[in-house]
Symmetry: D2
Subunit: 395 residues, 4 copies
C-alpha cells in the first residue's frame, strides 16, 4: 500500500494530518476527568455543526448503520408504522433495518436519481388522520446516487399535515459538508458518522436527538443495550461511557469540529460546492450525465456519473484501482454497472479533485469511451481558476 | 496530557509503537481487494489466538458490550432461558443485557472475589432434564475482582450433565493474555475486545462462533442488524463488510496477532503470569489482600487489592491520577471503595510494573496507610530478578 | 498548514508513509548494539543504491552542503588545484565552497541549461601533464536547470588523459532517482542527501568514498572534525558514531534503501523517466521550452521551464503557493525569474504529477500567459495512459 | 525494538508525544514564507530559554560536535590561543577539536569528578597581561561525570582579570534543564543540541552568539562553509537557510520552547532538581558515591555513580540492556568501567525515575553487588512523596 494518491470514494475521506494525529491518542484512563475534556467538546462541537442549540448528541463506537439502529430502537416499538421513501441504496438499507426490527414500514419508491418525493409524502401524511405514523425517515444525501433531498420541504409537508411523527434524517454524507439545520428543520433524530464530513476514520456513529425524541425514547420498546441513549446519557453525566469508549476518535472529533467551526460552516459548505461544481463541469465536458436527475438536487459531496448504455461502469473503478492506484466508488444496487462515483467530500482541494478528474479521463479513454483527454480537467480548471485564481490575481 | 507514565488500568492497555502505527492507517477503499488483505489475516490471527481451528471470527466496530449483545442476539430468542453466574461487575452487566433483550435469566450469585461456582452450575444443569437452558454464560476473567474462572471445568460440568446448551464465554480480559482454548473447551461463542490482550485502542468487538453457534444463529429471533453475523459473513465472503468497517483497527489487529503468535502464545501467557506474580508478591509485602479469594483463581491480567476496613480505596486512584499522573482502576459495584486495581495486561514490562508498584506505595503512604515504602517494590524486584536477571547472569 | 496537496519542489520530496514512520523513531541508546542494526543496513543499502561493491559509505547529520564540505576537506589540502565546471546554481555553490577552503579552483563556465562540457574538461586534463589537478568535481544533475551531465563521459575523458585526479560527483538530485554507477564510473567521492531520491526528510549528508579517496584522506590537510571520515569509520567499527547520530533518519534510510532495492533500481529509474516524460510532453503542449538545451540532457528529477521573455517566472511560484497551496521551485541565480521548476522525484505518481501540471496551467492562465487549460495535462495523460493504461487493458 | 521502557541515558532523552509529532512534519517548501513561521519562533524561543535579550541564535543541522566546530571556526583564526579546562570526556573532546583546527590550546587539567577550577583559570588569565587568550572555553555540565561548573564564577574571574577573551560555553546537557544565563553571565558563544533539555531527536546544533562574538566572526579566519554564521544570518533574513534545513526538527524546537516557557523555566529547573535529588537519595541509600566530588556541583541532568573498586561498572549497563531492556549510560574515558550513569533530563517524571532506580537495583544485585533491593527506590520515593505527595494531600 503506497497511500500516495488521494482517495475519491464518497467516504471515508482523505484525513487531514492534524486529525490523524488527534485520533492516534496514547491510552488514557477513560474513567478519569481527563476523558471529559475530550468528550464534552466533541459533543458540543457536533451540536454546533448540526446547527442546533438543544440537541442531545450521542457518540457510539459504531458505523452509520449502528446509528440507524440507534435512531429507531431508541424511539420506536415493534409494530410502529414508519413512512420512508426509497430512492437509493442507503434509503433501501435503512428500510431493511426497520423491517428486521419489526416496524411496519410504508415505502414510497422513487426512481434512483430522483430526490425524496416530498409531495407524495405530504399526501400520505395528510391522509393519516389518526397519526398512525410514528416516524418519517429521510435520507438527506443519497450517497449511492449523489442526490440531495429537501428536508426543509419534508418538514413543511409534515407541518402542513399537522403530523406529529418524529422526523429522522440520515445525514451521513451531508452533515458537516452540506447545510444541515437540526433546529430550523425541527429534526428529531439526525444520524451521521465520523468518516465523511468530519474527515475522520470510521468508527463513530454520531446522533442528535431532539427533546421530543428523548421523550419518545422513554416509551420505545425495541430492544437495545449497546445503543441505548439513556445509558449513554447517564454515562455522559459522569464524564464517562456505559462501556469502553474510543478516546482517540472522540479526540479527533473534537478537533474536527474545531477545524470546521474555525473555517466557518458556510465556508465549509461553499468549499464543497465549489469543488462539486468543478466536477460537474467536467462531467458536462465529457458529454456524460449525472445520475441526479436535476441540477438543483445534485449532491455537493458525491457525483454519480452515468456511463453510456452497454458499458459496465464498474470497469472504470477496477481499472483506476489497478492501473493508477486511485479509488473511485462503484454503482450500488439498481445503478450498479450504470454509474461510477467520484466522492468529493471531506478533506479535498481543487488540486486534488483535478487529479481525480484526470485519472477518470485516462480510465475512460483506456476502456474505449469516447472522451477527450483533458476536456473535463479543462472545464474544472476554468471553473476553479475563475472562482479562486482570478480573485487572487485581482487582489 | 503528557502521556509520560504508563497506564495501570485493566484495559485499555499501553499500546506498542508498532500497533499505534498500524492503526493509524491512511484511508483505503474498504471495498477494494486491498481491504481483504487486512481483514482475512486479522480474522485468521484471532482464530489462532483463541486456539481454534474452526471458529468463525467476527469483528464488529464496537466495544465489548456490543460483543455481548452480538453473542446473544445472534443465538437466542425472546424468552429463552440462560444460566449465568454473577461474581463481579462484568458478569452483572452481561446479565442485565440479557434481561433487557427479554431472556429468562437464571442467576447463580457468588461472592465477589470468588470464581464461577462450577459445582452449583453443574447441579442446575443436571436438574434441567428437559434442556430448558439454551445457553450458559460465563465470564472467564472478572476484571472487577481480578478473578479467573475455570471454563474447562464448566465445560466438564455441562458434559457431565449431558447438557446441549451453548457455552458463551466473556474473554474480554483474558483472551490473548491468559490461556484460552476455544476448541478444547468447546466454547460456542467467545467475546473479547481490541483494547486488552490485543494491546490496541478500543473499538473492536471480537467474537468467535462455533459451528453450533452458527447453526443456532439461523433460528435465533432476537432482533439485530448491526450485530448480525450473517450479514457479516456475507460481507467477509466478498472481502468486505455490510457497512463501513474500521480498516485501521483491523490492520492493527492483524499485526497484534502476528506479534502475539511470533512471541508464542505460551510465552505471552508466561509473561503475563510473571508480571502478575511480582504484583502479588508486592501485595503480600504490603500486608494487603487480593480481592481474589484464592491464589489459584488470581487473574494474571488485573489485581484487585483490598484496602483496610474503613479506608476508601478510591482515594488511591484519585490521588495517583492527580499527584503522580498515574492511572489505576477503581473498585466497581459491590467492591467500590473497597479495592483498587492494578491492570497488568497487554503491553507491559516488569520495569513498568515496578513503576506502578512504587507509585501505589507512595499513594498509600501519602494517604496514611501503614505501608513501608519500597517494600512491595523489593518483593517484586526479587521475583523478577530471580526469574529473569539471575538466568541472564547465569547464561 | 494543511498538507493536502503534494509538493512539486525538486526536493525535499513527498515522503511515503512508511518512511515518515521509520524516521519517527522513539529514542534508542545510540551506543547499544541495537543501533548497529540500523546503521549497517543503512550503509549497505546506500552502497547498493550507488551501484558499488566497495564504496565506504558515510552518513553525516547534515545537508548536502555538508556533504560537499566533507568531500573536499577529507581529500584535499590548502592550495590544491581542482577542476570544476559551472553550469548552474549548485555547481556554482560547490565552487564557492572550494574557494573558501583555500583550494585553487579552475572553473570552466558553460551556459546555464547546458551540461558539463566534457570536451573542454578533457582538454584541460590532457594539458595537465604534471597532474596538478588533484580532483575533478562534477554536478551530475543540476537541480537549478534540470540538466543531467555525462559522468561516464567525464570518466572517459579523465582516463583518456591518463589523469589520476579524484573524481568527485554531486549526485544530490540524481542518486536513487537516476542511474548512478559508482564502481563502473570509478567515482571517488559521491555526495547526496536524504531528501531527494531517498524520499526522506532532510538531515543526512550521504557520501560514498572509493578506496582511492580513503587513501587520499590520510594525506588531506584541510581542517575538519565534524566531517572527518576517519573518526566516522572508527565509530562505525564499533556500531557507533563519534558523536550523537540521528537514529530516526538512519532508520528511515535503511528502509528507503529496502524500498528502492525491492522495487528494483532500474524500475525506480524507469518510473522517474516515465513521469518526467509526461511533464516534458506537457511543456511542449504549452509551447514552452525547457531550460535544458537538449532532450538527451533533460533531467528525470526536475524540469526547469522557461517562461516567455518579459514574464517573471517567479510569479508562478508565488501564485501557486498563495492561491492553490502548491509548491513549485523558483529559478535560481542566472535563471532567476526566467524559469520555474517542477520537481518530479522521489515519492510521486503520474496522478500526482497531473495535479501539478493542472495547477501550473491554472497559474499560467491566471497570470495572463497564452496557455490553453488542459493542454499540458492532456499531453501528459496521453503519455501516461499509453505507457501504463493501455498495457493494463491489454493484459 | 519494543520501546516500552523509558531510556535513562543522558541524552537523547525520552521525547514527549507532542514533540514527536511536531518533528514528524510533512514536506513543506523551505523557501516559502511558511518556513519562516517555523524558523523565527524557534530561534526566538531558544533565545528566551538561554535567558538572553540579544543573542543571535543559529540552528545547524548537526550534532553538538558540529556546534563546537561552529563556535570556534566562526570566531577564531589558526594559532589563536584558547584556555580550556579538562575534567571529563566532553571537555576533552572539545579540546581535541580545537587542536585539530590549529588553535593553541592551554589545558588546565582537573580530576574527573571535579568542576572547572575557576581559581586556576583566574590565575592564568590574570597572568595574561597581553591578552593572548582569545577565548576561554568551558563545559557547563560535564555529561561524563555529572558535574556542573560555575560559569558565573568563571565570568567573574575573567572580569576580575579584566580579560577580554570570548567566553564560550558548552551547555549541551545543561541548557533548557538547568539554569543558564547567557546575558547575565555575558556568554559569547553558547552551544547546545536538540536532544537534551529540548527533548527532541538529535540533529540540531543550537548556538547563541553575543554581539561581541558576531564581531569576532568578521575577523575569524578558520575555514568554514557549512557552519558559517554569516551565510546563516543572511539566510535567516530571507526566512531561509543557505542550504536545505530540517523543517521538522525546527518545528519541534519551536514547540519545545513553547512547552518549556509555558511551564516556566524556573519550574523546569525545579523539576529536574527534584528528580535528581531523588536519584541522589537512592545513591546514598545504596551506600555508593557519585562521581561528582561535592554535592553543590552535582548535575541535575545526569548522575554518574561510582561502583565499588574492582567491579566493572559497564556490566550494569550491558546487563540492564540485555535483561531488562533499559538503557543507562556507561562511563567514558578516565571513568570508563568505574561509573555508570543515569540520565534524568528532558521528558521524565518521578514515576519513570523510580522505574530506572528499581532496574539499577536489580542489575546491581544480579551482578553481586551488596545492595538491598528497594532501598534506593524507598529513599527516592520518600523524597518525591514528601515534595509532591504530601503537598497534594494537604491541599
Amino acid at each position: 500500500m503506497h497511500f500516495q494518491n488521494p482517495v475519491f470514494i464518497p467516504g471515508p475521506t482523505n484525513i487531514p494530518e492534524r486529525l490523524r494525529r488527534a485520533c492516534d491518542l496514547p491510552t488514557i484512563d477513560h474513567r478519569s476527568p481527563r476523558f471529559g475534556d475530550i468528550l464534552h467538546p466533541a459533543r458540543e462541537g457536533v451540536r454546533r455543526v448540526m446547527k442546533s442549540e438543544t440537541a442531545e448528541i450521542f457518540l457510539f463506537p459504531a458505523s452509520g448503520t449502528g446509528g440507524w439502529e440507534a435512531a429507531i430502537t431508541n424511539t420506536l416499538s415493534a409494530g410502529d408504522r414508519v413512512l420512508v421513501s426509497r430512492y437509493g441504496m442507503f434509503s433501501h438499507r435503512w428500510i431493511d433495518l426497520c423491517q428486521r426490527h419489526g416496524l411496519d414500514v410504508t415505502i414510497i419508491d422513487a426512481p434512483w436519481g430522483d430526490a425524496l418525493p416530498v409531495e407524495r409524502c405530504a399526501e400520505v401524511l395528510a391522509a393519516d388522520k389518526s397519526h398512525e405514523y410514528k416516524a418519517v425517515l429521510a435520507t438527506h444525501n443519497e450517497t449511492a446516487t449523489g442526490v440531495r433531498s429537501d428536508i426543509a420541504g419534508l418538514r413543511r409537508a409534515m407541518d402542513g399535515a399537522g403530523h406529529p411523527a418524529l422526523l429522522m434524517v440520515d445525514g451521513v454524507s451531508s452533515i458537516a459538508s452540506m447545510d444541515f439545520r437540526f433546529d430550523e428543520w425541527r429534526v428529531d433524530v439526525a444520524v451521521t458518522g465520523s468518516q465523511k464530513g468530519f474527515m475522520l476514520p470510521p468508527g463513530l456513529a454520531i446522533l442528535g436527538f431532539s427533546q421530543k425524541a428523548m421523550a419518545a425514547s422513554k416509551e420505545a420498546r425495541l430492544s437495545r443495550t449497546y445503543f441505548d441513549v439513556h445509558d449513554m446519557a447517564k454515562g455522559y453525566a459522569q464524564n464517562a461511557y456505559p462501556y469502553t469508549p474510543t478516546p482517540g476518535l472522540l479526540n479527533g472529533l473534537a478537533m474536527a469540529c474545531d477545524m470546521l467551526l474555525d473555517e466557518g460552516l458556510e465556508n465549509v459548505f461553499a468549499r464543497h460546492h465549489l469543488i462539486a461544481e468543478g466536477v460537474r463541469a467536467a462531467v458536462r465536458a465529457w458529454g456524460l450525465e449525472l445520475c441526479a436527475t436535476a441540477p438543483e438536487i445534485s449532491s455537493d459531496t458525491v457525483s454519480a456519473i452515468r456511463t453510456p448504455e452497454g458499458f459496465d461502469a464498474s470497469r472504470i473503478v477496477a481499472h483506476a484501482a489497478q492501473t493508477y492506484d486511485v479509488a473511485f466508488g462503484a454503482g450500488l444496487g439498481e445503478v450498479a454497472g450504470k454509474v461510477f462515483r467520484i466522492g468529493h467530500l471531506g478533506s479535498l482541494t481543487d488540486v486534488m479533485a483535478l487529479a481525480g478528474l484526470a485519472t477518470a479521463e485516462m480510465c475512460m479513454v483506456d476502456l474505449g469511451l469516447d472522451i477527450r483527454l483533458g476536456s473535463g480537467v479543462a472545464a474544472a480548471q476554468e471553473f476553479y481558476r475563475t472562482e479562486q485564481g482570478l480573485r487572487a490575481v485581482a487582489a
